[in-house]
Symmetry: C2
DNA sequence: CCTGTCAAGTGAAAAATTTCATAAAATTAC
DNA sequence: GTAATTTTATGAAATTTTTCACTTGACAGG
């Protein structure tokens, strides 16, 4: 099997989103063209992306919505639920704890940690906030592979090291510090202000001809 | 001037982050190698990215930290402050209102909107929550160009259309619905569960040889 | 002031990614 | 049942992006 480019993986998730939405709408079949249009892509690209995983389309007809969804979920490891640990229950952290989208998409935040004594013991959405001293113990015991980090940037490195040692394989990092681990660990750095900053480049240079659009 | 690839823009912001951090640490000079290492990139790529905007490095020495920071900020439109409107003061929205990172990076959330009568009139961090009926009026009057959208996905399209009509040029969209506008408008779709989903692909396929790492 | 080393800048080469062209299968229209 | 149309699949071409090789300027040491 050929190597799957990272850009393809990112698109696959978006395809899955669209496929599931169409599934809900009762569409029995979907064509690459439809998927592509919904995301502003070239249909050839969609087919090529899907073809990495074998051929599950029908010529002249398209893809069976349900089967495509199932296959994509399987490819992405989304055919089962994942347990997630959340570290750092500040403003952002508690909003993430309450964010219904994770559960909807198969991710169960099963524990939350903080250092602040005021927060420890409190409960948000069924989840009791635990002391960060217990983090390794609980994460190991529960066999948690994914963690969400919403802590100050100063603590990011130390805490993520501890998580990795406790068995976590993937981290979604909201702290504005770039974290890196080598294979097989994965970090996804989500820097909220960074997104705004990439917007301003285009706003600022809007109209000039040196733009990639 | 040559067209700037989107991937370059994304890296430039990260360079700026590192440069500012080093500036704070008192480093007078920075080399492409140092910048590259901090982000796990090839130094040639860093030089090429910077060279799009002219030559501001010194051979044998590197880049003057301060000047590089200034230049990058100017390129990115970050040499001034930006006013931002926040729409949707739910869990995520109010966390974003309280998120200090935006202000730190030059973005002032100056107004917030919601539909819920319970929320309208309340105040979070100096910002009074206004009715969404007043959105267009205030956004136009204040000449706001950037909006953060943290509303349910069902409302995303309608609200973003209204924002665009009111003069907004860039949207940071947290609603899990893919929004698209054509040039010169920009949308950055930030789908939180989507990030987790891209992690699971790698966790699931970990160890298999078909991976891009 | 010469020599060696370092690092930016630049054009060419390589690699990766996307688009295109074509073939083949399925469906629809006649 | 045949022709036309639709749409996937796949290998080739084009494009984009990254890496490499080389040149040049700057500085340090002798």
């Amino acid at each position: 099997m050929k190597r799957i480019p990272e850009v393809t993986v990112e698109r696959l998730i978006k395809y899955l989103r669209f496929v599931e939405e169409m599934e809900k709408d009762g569409m029995r079949n979907l064509t690459a063209k439809q998927i592509a249009e919904s995301l502003g892509l070239n249909p050839h690209l969609v087919r090529k992306d899907l073809a990495y995983f074998g051929q599950f389309g029908k010529r002249g007809k398209g893809y069976e919505t349900e089967k495509l969804g199932e296959t994509l979920r399987k490819i992405m490891g989304l055919d089962k639920r994942w347990k997630v640990a959340l570290v750092g229950v500040g403003n952002l952290g508690s909003a993430l704890l309450r964010y219904p989208g994770f559960k909807e998409r198969g991710f169960d935040v099963v524990c939350a940690f903080d250092t602040s004594p005021q927060k420890i013991g409190r409960q948000i959405e069924d989840i009791k906030i635990e002391s960060m001293d217990k983090m390794e113990e609980i994460v190991s015991k529960e066999n948690i592979k994914i963690a969400i980090l919403s802590i100050p940037k100063e603590a990011a490195e130390e805490v993520s090291d501890r998580l990795v040692k406790a068995g976590v394989m993937g981290i979604l990092n909201f702290a504005p510090r770039y974290l890196q681990y080598s294979y097989p660990f994965r970090v996804l750095n989500v820097d909220l202000s960074l997104y705004l900053e990439s917007l301003t480049f285009y706003l600022e240079n809007d109209g000039k001809k040196n733009l990639s659009m």
